[in-house]
């Protein structure tokens, strides 16, 4: 699903979208930040020790945190990572899809100093639009190391197009972070409020129909090339 000419300005103006502004009188202010999702299979939401390889970091180079802005995004990325191992897509009825379990976390990330890495701005970190979402992670990992980790003046929080769920965006945070209670206002950039939302969760069947599987073209990239914006055809009812 594409929408012509409806691309809205991105960047700090959207950062306030996840903030809670209505606070009852007498209540402490709610934590600032953009609500994001993370799916993993660890007892911790985030890394302080060097993390495994991801889109913007090779294995073992330093702690790197990945989040999805869309609730389906984090699970889509996990399914796609299994597909990357196999080198082929998975169907929803495949046990490798239907029994992959994840802890699902909800967190609030401070995006006040965020770099908006889009198909249009990819060149700022030495990438082409295609490299941003391609199956091979080499280019994006090098960009992450060069700009996200080593360049001290460059933002440590990036928003970028999801390779697994076109039409949605992910957030990467370079460096160690720790989770504090969801309703707590962080007192430093090293703290991210969050909570576990589900343990041993599996991906909904419907996700398989809207996610971008391994080897498939990226609908968001194709729309951008044509001057359009891809809108995720999000399922609204789910088999339970």
């Amino acid at each position: 699903m594409t929408r012509r000419g409806s691309q809205r300005p991105r960047g700090s103006s959207r950062a306030s979208a996840g903030s809670v502004s209505a606070v009852p009188l007498g209540a402490p202010p709610a934590p600032r930040g953009l609500v994001v999702y993370r799916a993993n299979a660890h007892p911790d939401a985030m890394w302080s020790a060097p993390s495994p390889a991801g889109r913007f970091n090779p294995a073992g180079t330093g702690p790197t945190q990945y989040f999805a802005e869309h609730p389906l995004g984090a699970l889509a990325e996990r399914i796609r990572s299994v597909e990357r191992y196999l080198g082929r897509p998975l169907q929803a009825d495949d046990p490798l899809y239907s029994t992959l379990t994840s802890h699902l976390w909800v967190l609030k990330v401070d995006v006040s100093e965020m770099f908006d890495l889009t198909f249009s701005t990819a060149r700022l970190v030495g990438l082409t639009a295609t490299q941003l979402v391609e199956d091979d992670l080499g280019h994006t990992q090098r960009a992450g190391e060069q700009y996200g980790r080593l360049a001290s003046s460059f933002s440590k929080v990036w928003r970028y197009p999801s390779a697994a769920l076109p039409g949605t965006t992910n957030i990467v945070v370079f460096g160690a972070r720790r989770m504090v209670p969801y309703d707590l206002n962080p007192t430093s950039r090293l703290q991210i409020p969050g909570s576990l939302a589900a343990a041993q969760a599996v991906a909904p069947v419907e996700l398989a129909g809207v996610m971008r599987h391994f080897g498939e073209p990226h609908a968001g990239l194709r729309a951008w090339v044509s001057g359009n914006v891809y809108v995720l055809p999000q399922p609204l009812s789910f088999v339970v």
């Binding site: 799916a39 299979a41 294995a59 191992y85 080198g87 046990p95 430093s188």
Partner: protein, 230 residues
Amino acid sequence: MKASPSASPFARSRLDVLDKGFVEDAREVITCLANPEPLDERTKIRMRVMTRELQDNFAELAASGAYPDFLRAAAGPVRELSKAILDTEDLDSPESRDSAALGFLTVVQTLEADAEGAEVWQQDDAGELATWVLEHLQIKVERLAAWLRVGERTIQRWQEGGTPSDPDRLARLQALVRLSARLRFLYPPRGIVQFLERPVEAWGKRRAVDVLDDEERIAEAERLIASIRG
């Protein structure tokens, strides 16, 4: 020693040497540090004692010369934690609390990663390893025998205390346990078996169980499984 929930039931890991309940205690401290209340004196003393004990145990291990890979991986985190806790007067300042929490978390994550690491599975009790696979993957001896390219009777002999005559057979079994131990964080037994038996395009459609004697492929699979874990 209190076992980490992620540790193998028969892991001879560095947790055995260093842990002394450290992981669970550290997680309690990390939770204290995540809450806004000031730390009480008992918690501050506990943090200093835990760090000092860890430092001493680590020094003892380093002096023994054992586990060089682990020592390399953990030296930095132990040093950083010592700096954050033992070299800091005011443990309650916001900066100190961040440094302390991240210091403990880094050591915990390093210890847990090590407990799942390759060296852990290099034990040579083939019977124990085979029994672990049969129980955790809920498969029959026949299937395991096919994966390892041995007869069913051979596996039964291992379980009765026999040792593999061919070291390659033991190496294949160890590689199988290494992968399965990591996969159990992702899949139930049925999913683990599916994962191990699924053809991989990049390996010319060979399956993980076909490359158990290829250390390079097994290490690659381990890295990919780590990425899937997130």
